[in-house]
Symmetry: C2
Subunit: 463 residues, 2 copies
Amino acid sequence: VSKWRELYQEIRTGIASGQIPAGTKLPSTRDLADERKLSRSTVITAVDQLTAEGFLESRPGSGTYVALGAGGPGKLSFSSPRRFASGGTTAPGARQEGGLIDFRSGQPDLSCFPWSRWEKAERQARLKYGSDLLRYAKPEGLPGLRAAIASYLGRVRGLSVDPERLLVCNGTTQAISLLADIFASVGVHTVWLEDPVTADIVEIFRGRGLGIHRAPVDDQGLMTTELEPGGAGGWAGHVCFVTPSHQFPTGAVLSLNRRVQLIENFQTEGAWLIEDDYDSEFRFDGPPLATLASLDPSRVVYIGTFSKTLAPGLRTAYIHLPESLVERGRQGKWRNDLHNVPLIQAALAEFLDRGYYDLHVRTMRKLYQRKRDLIRETFRDHIPGAVFTGDSAGLHGRVILGHGMVDQPFLDRCQKVGVRVYPVAAHAAEPSRGRQDFILGYGHLSFEEIIEGLGRLRRALEG
Amino acid sequence: VSKWRELYQEIRTGIASGQIPAGTKLPSTRDLADERKLSRSTVITAVDQLTAEGFLESRPGSGTYVALGAGGPGKLSFSSPRRFASGGTTAPGARQEGGLIDFRSGQPDLSCFPWSRWEKAERQARLKYGSDLLRYAKPEGLPGLRAAIASYLGRVRGLSVDPERLLVCNGTTQAISLLADIFASVGVHTVWLEDPVTADIVEIFRGRGLGIHRAPVDDQGLMTTELEPGGAGGWAGHVCFVTPSHQFPTGAVLSLNRRVQLIENFQTEGAWLIEDDYDSEFRFDGPPLATLASLDPSRVVYIGTFSKTLAPGLRTAYIHLPESLVERGRQGKWRNDLHNVPLIQAALAEFLDRGYYDLHVRTMRKLYQRKRDLIRETFRDHIPGAVFTGDSAGLHGRVILGHGMVDQPFLDRCQKVGVRVYPVAAHAAEPSRGRQDFILGYGHLSFEEIIEGLGRLRRALEG
């Protein structure tokens, strides 16, 4: 454990346990460094992370304070945080057709796929397992892959993961399908969704006969005050599906206050949270916030995916299930399609074990950050009529028009100049929401395509 | 088209159209050969196939006649027949553990998997498609794979298949899951199943809220006289799931009369047949019977799989859907898990296009037939207290005890001597059915294991 992490953990535990109350002023980083015999940069790293996670807040000209609402009730065990991700089930065929530049979201840059490392991992897996890879297998996934994922989530996302509670599945869409079945079978009747949200997700839950409620999203993510249990049973029978690390599609990061509020609401027998952590590996501005799963492992179902970090074509995601749902999860997967393809599972396990995955994610994070920065700067300096936001993580951001609507005439102008963007309103249940916003996905585009695409977009914006 | 096939087709069409009425005596093969200027062996091949399919029947000492009930109504278009297969979703881990010899069903011999050809197909696919294999794709499956499957089914199974109506999915289990959803969404309320049948299939349909009815199976397969539509709506809202080529688990082949009766019953708006053709590639005794799908493409959903012919670990099966269900099939797959792994799909397409698959199936058919023959002869010559039957196709047969039950004491004796067999009664809803029967799956066992296993079985039978 690194030194900054020890300090970070100590302060975080103090805040979470209530020992360091909200509003407490932190000593200066210089004083803290002296007191602890640490370098000042170590202290700054810890404080920056705690600030990014919402445990601390910086008041300019005054100092750093423990944030209001950051202190969880004593029963919450805050384990350490980290980054991770899945979701944004987008439509097929995201290649650039003809001259069109398509800012579709959720598409990684596959020109960087490490083919030779992947094939090395495949060869190694085939040597190791031989014709076992061709047989029927268990629904939860190969033990080797589950161990590798658990280790990765511990190492990089700070999550304490039991491989026996992991369920490997064919992408986040299947994860959600299986969860819809599981929850319908344990008496859940109501699903809370963010508004806007991916349309497919609404359909999956609705298709299982579950009632759908939607709550709005603002710049701090899901507006948790808009959630209401209704009937006499309180939150029992309610599930809330949320994308805290990088809301899809607005790009907002759920604030710590709201995370704590969500956990408090749903810390009830029969109530559940689904955390879709779909692209948080690619967090550009400071360290990521703690996962909901680390705040309350007993009520949070955590979904991660390899679709954004490695390739959607691998069709591999995973669910970390609360103990009480593990058996239902395995049965559901077995009745759905038995299990994932072992050839892919074993290669992926090798790919993780050899460190290729961590390396790839680090490389890609730098690359996507450069793309993000390019877009951010282009909007700031050259497209004054619109703001680029929701871009602190992931493979997309949100553009808010200063005036005008993302309506059909605007989309027609975009098409005419050869650029495609995606209205946020198409994901919203409430028609008034997000009508000035569109989604700008850039993961798959080259720098040249981004520059050309933004030039065209500016022409479309100018009418 | 081969010469015997032309003659076969002509006689078959004549019978199906009613031009050659039931009971008609056929000329001798010698006379037919003279009349048509064909070799006698060509004529014999055609007549044998028509006999195997139930269109003709041989009356010893008298000659060959058009079978009673073989003449379909004029509206049925009999296209040409063939072999094919999916299903028998068995439990994980069918390897021989320790000294145990496990006669589990539905396990192909993976020691014969053509790794070098498979990897050649993989390399070719990667050269051809590159990083397209890593992207999100369409739910119905890669066009190249669907074209290759359609061509294969036409070539080997005589089915006229439209690639646009094929849906590639993760094995037969997912095919059935998707069909359960589709049928529930088009107003189906009742599913007819064979009794016995794989338990998972019952659960999948039941899990979608469909009413389950079961009809018994005898040596000619599903007893179609036991099906009854009940209410006033006739067969509308009813689906019948059937394994005509090789009933699972009894091994019976559905007779032509019953096929025709099924088609007649279900040739109604809102009624459907599901034909799970799971291991008919491996037909040992004469050519296979025509598929239901070739009898009435508009009401039959046809499921085939690569799990038995190539490897379960590829998790690849397909559904040939009636035109009216194609769009629902694609939507269902998309909402379930988007699509199958393109890396596997593309390699499989290459494997088919290069002729590797046909070659592998032919090789494996010969191998399995030798295993089947060994078991058949061993029972005949060395195990007088039991009969081996239901073995005309596939990777398993059924053993019927002459006296005694397949009860716990018997299974305990089996375990004691180190052999495992599977009671048919475990698959039956009606407890009285199949209590003297067990399933003997041999695909995955070596000749030595079969000999040793049958020796142990004899000891268990002797008490």
